[in-house]
Symmetry: C2
Subunit: 228 residues, 2 copies
Amino acid sequence: MKHMDKSEFTERKVVFEEKMNGLQEKLQYMGSLVEEAIARAIESLKKQDPNLARAVIEGDDRIDDLEQEIEEKCLEVIATQQPMARDLRRVATLFKMINDLERMADYATSIAKITIRIGQQPFVKPLVDIPRMAFLSQKMVKQSLDAYVREDVELALTVGTDDDEIDHLFGQIFRELLTIMMENPKTITQAAQLLFVGRWLERISDHATNIAEEVIFLVTGEKKNLND
Amino acid sequence: MKHMDKSEFTERKVVFEEKMNGLQEKLQYMGSLVEEAIARAIESLKKQDPNLARAVIEGDDRIDDLEQEIEEKCLEVIATQQPMARDLRRVATLFKMINDLERMADYATSIAKITIRIGQQPFVKPLVDIPRMAFLSQKMVKQSLDAYVREDVELALTVGTDDDEIDHLFGQIFRELLTIMMENPKTITQAAQLLFVGRWLERISDHATNIAEEVIFLVTGEKKNLND
């Protein structure tokens, strides 16, 4: 790269920050679609509504396209702005985050497929902990993205705390479902599906935790494991 | 970027290709560790060997470190070589792939934890399909990385075929385990764990399929969904 004088450098930085703002807006939009996908997948399960489940499954294409679009834009910013050091790391972090978001949406789709599979059979247990897990994981998605945009380490750390609660809830659901299965083998098919719903929500929260860890690394340079 | 004359351009390209070779070697080394982690996790399960399971869990740190190291090197190549267009996409693809590899290793760790949880209880069924799934998913890991290094679309497509077989095997394992659970509720705790092993292997193969899709996109510019 040729040497830049100070004003050229400043101008470049201004353009770069504009591009970053654009990327962050798209990131947050993608995040809102993912939150919605999780919420609607669990809603479809609770209400046993296959139409809503199908809407979640169909909506996944939009999220995949958005991932693709943001990825292209990240590469474009790198190629045209040639950010260095920490700015390059900011773009790279965003690039990784959209991948996590896309995976979360896949898990929401997996949950919607379970809604369709369960159909209209009465539930083997009232769904209380699963919606609670879903609520927490949506919150984690939002907070991990906000933590990135604001470079807020405190907020990133709270994502780790919610992840602990999700893990705890999943342990509870797991034990409860196994007990129900043992008491009445007729419940097994559905209970096994609900076990997976719990696992998918746990995985969604793991991805939000990944994002939070990335944010902490970006801001502090320290690798922190929030997932223990 | 300043304009380069032809010889400067060629020289730059030579340096870039050298750096890419270095990155690809590390990628393949990381891939071999991941293959090994999958193989050893399943071996630990089959032999009910908690020590081997613990070795897999401890080995995961090495893989995480390697991901970190390769990621840094990717960013360094981007910052110092400023690759454009397709070369930038090659680095970005590798950057994404190591993330998939790291996730696969996490699933191997999850399987090793199940080995420890199951302990010395006799198996509710002989493990035949699970090792078969593991064998296939290891092959998929290797082939997806080879497809990247050689930019071999044909090879990437075979990864998709193996993924179909894995999905089929998992469907079979799922039905079989549910039947066993229904026949004998005492099997439920272990069978639920084995269900998850099946799911983790399926997820590992999904990540290999992601990589294969990335390779196809890199080479042909077409987004292909191998996971249907």
